[in-house]
Amino acid sequence: MARSRLIHAVPYDDLFGSLSLFSWLLAATYLCLEAIHRRRVVGPFVLPIVLAVFLLAHLPEARVVKAPPAQGPLFAFHVTLNILAYSAFAISFVLSIIFLIQNQRLRDHKLGVVGWRFPALDVLDRMTRSSVLIGCISLAAGMTAGMIWAHRLEGRYWDGDPKVIVTVVILLAYIGYTFLSRTSSWRGARASALCIFNFMFVIFSYSIVNRYLSHFHRYF
């Protein structure tokens, strides 16, 4: 928040700013899902992640960083929507892990203390799917905004930046999940495993690609 006030914009200029935004949007997405599905049971698993990312984001002092050129609402939309997509994917990742644990417990007849408190498999499944849907839509919208912005700035929509390529892969992977999770051979645990696997792309994109591969998507 302090960072955002300092630079009078959505805080997307450095890794910590984008992490902070990420944690806010993560919480917002979760609250949204909670409102749709009327289930609060997953909160205890999502909240620690929100807090961890939030703390990580606030470790260094807020400082003004050299801003990327041609800032405007379009660029802010691009960043916000993409980070919203990542937070939706992060939640689907957490939900899928809970699904797999709970599924295994039910199959092994070992429910234990938490087993009776966890949400039903069906609920987890539906929450995961709506979360992925939110992610796909905002990622597609965010990428479109980014391309239009790039076109205005440099006159081309596509410059072959690795980050953009990886993001397209992520989008395709999650669209794939959305379809497969409704088919007979992938329904249930396999779909959740796929969802967890897909999130590895997101982590890869957020870490390795940002740090070493991308030309100008340095921090988000």
């Binding site: 039910l106 429910l111 203390v113 087993g115 009776w116 039903a120 069906d122 088919t183 249930g188 396999r190």
Partner: protein, 425 residues
Amino acid sequence: MEIVLIGLNHKTASVDLRERVAFTPEQAREAAEQLRSRGLLEESLVLSTCNRSELYGVPSESATNSAGAVELFVASFHQISLNDLDHSLYRHRDSHAVRHLFRVSAGLDSMLLGEAEILGQVRDAYQIALDRGETGPVLNRMFQSALEVGKRVRNETELGTRPVSVAFASVKLAERIFGKLNSHRALIVGAGATSEQVVKHLCDRGIKQLRVINRTPEHAVNLAARFNGEVVPWENLPAALEWPDLIVTSVSSTEPVLTRAMINKAMSARGNRALLMVDLGVPRNVAPEVADIYNTYLYNIDDLTEIVEQNKKARVAEIPRAEAIIDEQVDKFLHWQAGVAAGAVLGDLRSKLAAEREAFMKDRFAAMPNLSEADRAQVAAMMQEFTERMLITPAEKMRGIPELRRKLQNFEAIRDLFHLDREKP
């Protein structure tokens, strides 16, 4: 402001005796009426379920040995000799009676630890007594607190959450997989006694679509009719497996009735949607290999029994937490009760002082004939103001400090000190 409780329950009395001492709602009303007309109890409430009969009361001020009199009354009301009753009755007073009621409504005193039904029974008994005007401020407060205790224990502890019967455990497992059961389908294979219990719980939890299949069609028709289900002929069993999300089996058969091949076929026909099978049969009705099929969940009677045993242990482990809630609520109640008692003592003290003051002034004014009417009025006002002022600090202390209350042993000392008892002035 005493509270008395006499009662018996499944721990202290045989079924036979419990039946004889049970109160129907009509009898409860009659008993309450008689207790009041005889001047034994000011407030009364009868809590009578199949496992307990309890009578809570607040004795009238004039009654002596009210608990004994109430015991006699109960014996004569049910035409049982007091000797038969004596060993089975428990008698509690004041804070012990309050604690007992709180434990009852929390489910700690139930045969099945933590069961939920008792809370509803307490609520009903209270509602009936309240409507008939049999309760008063003390029992109202006490039963409202008891309902609060019941709710808190169920919300804040695991005492009542995990199922402790095989039938209910099956239904709860289904809810762990499918969520709400309203839109799901159940197939009952074999119409035995346990499957009937499962069906009953399933219907309670909202299942609407139910099919019954049985070797003897009459039994299936019977069960289906009672729970609004359909009957499927036994020959159609393999095809019938594609329809449900939950299958409950209890067939007496030496060979498994549902084989791996049958379930495999059913699963591909239903697009691999999750399938829960609850096998209550001994020997087992579902082939054990079925458990390996993707997206199926298979529980046999041993698995369920083990879950039930674990849950029973888990409930026992929750007792201390429930007791802590009860301690807290008993303290709260006693605090309230003491506050009311303090108010009553202060009221008595105030009127006593007022009477003494009037008498004193009358006496002194008689010796002072030269005082004018206005002077007399002024002196009277001053004296009144003075006595009121004297009472301000003690009133604050009595209301506010529990420690002081304990020191004064519920204000009995003050009553003695100022001769506040109306009977012995």
